[in-house]
Amino acid sequence: MSHAIEISGLKYRAGSFELKDVDLHVPTGSIYGFLGPNGSGKTTTMRLVLGLLRPLAGRITVLGDRMPEDAPRILARVGYVPEQPHLDATLTVRELMTFQAAFYRTWDAACAEDLLNRFELDDHRVFGRLSKGQKAKLMILLALAQRGDLLVLDEPTDGLDPVVRRDILTALLEYVAERKATIFISSHLVHELERICDWIAVMDEGRVVTEVPMEKLKQGTKRLVVAGAPPQIGETPFVVLSREPENGASERWVVGQWEPEMRSYFDGLGASLVDVIDLDLEDGFVELLRGFRASRRA
């Protein structure tokens, strides 16, 4: 499988914040969701991918070229929507489009006009006077019209109303359907990512907690209700993320990498598995973080 982004052994430090040995592999053509609490290192990682920050160590490959050495060649093929709008507030929508077009040989003026209409943006209005939703739409327009092979989107729809989110999402999905482009997207809107992503990476405290195909994460993360388990257990065929007493004699376990055949494990333990409860991405994400933090403190 080829990768649009490949990161290995990435280290970075700014003040007390540190990225520690980050490894990521974003498959070409995937929609890759990047989750993590605020301050976990998502934005920093994205900025390193774009060459906006210099790593202390590690290797970053983007679309087959090395970052930061081949930055100009890479950036010509990457659309980026930063968390905070970075555009000149005194320029009009039209001026910003013209400005952006000048930097990209692949700029598609027809696509830009089409999005301008669909997003119902007024091209005479200056950026500083646009609403939050209009700003977000313009940033997406600029990123899409340059026809890149990779889109790096840092929380592009967070804090927007549902109508704007839907417009943006539709434009992104059409782009992917048409261009087979790769999207590397971070968001706190877990349910939105749950619908569109085929891969998920979770970060916490500057480290990668997990990187896994969406389906595997969702099918493998379960809440188990277990009765009669001894306090000390040895090796398990799955990953125990947390273990808490429930009312009565039973316990709730949250496990990762679960497979239905693993039920028999509890017979060997002299315990019984009362129930297996499915978790959605949000529950799975929260439980993964809890498990990760507990294991780091242990």
């Binding site: 059409e174 992917v176 359907a177 749950e194 619908r195 992503c197 085929d198 389906e215 099918q219 959605d280």
Partner: protein
Amino acid sequence: MFHNLDARSPIPLYAQIAERIRLAIATGALAPAEALPSVRQLATELRVNPATVVQAYRDLEAQNFVEIRHGAGTFVRELAPGRRARERASQATALVRKLLAEARRMGVSLVEVQKAIEEEVGAKTP
């Protein structure tokens, strides 16, 4: 046809989409030779990854429910009447399994479920 797709379910979205289309074919809501929406259309309508729709269509093709004609689109195949009936029966079984699992989880007994079904059916068909 695609209402209440559940992205939060552990059943992958492509499998849910394929299941809805299979059912529509089995019930005749989708007629033989009818075209399915394009990948781009369906992906944006359902707000899912286009790859998810491609996967659903490929699975349906592997099961002989549809035919993918490259460049032209995806078309419903003619199904033997027996197969349509079997497909509806398997959908019915899936519904019942879901109901029974939920009942077990809630502590509702089989007798109570049966009684409720009889009452509902009686109420719906006077």
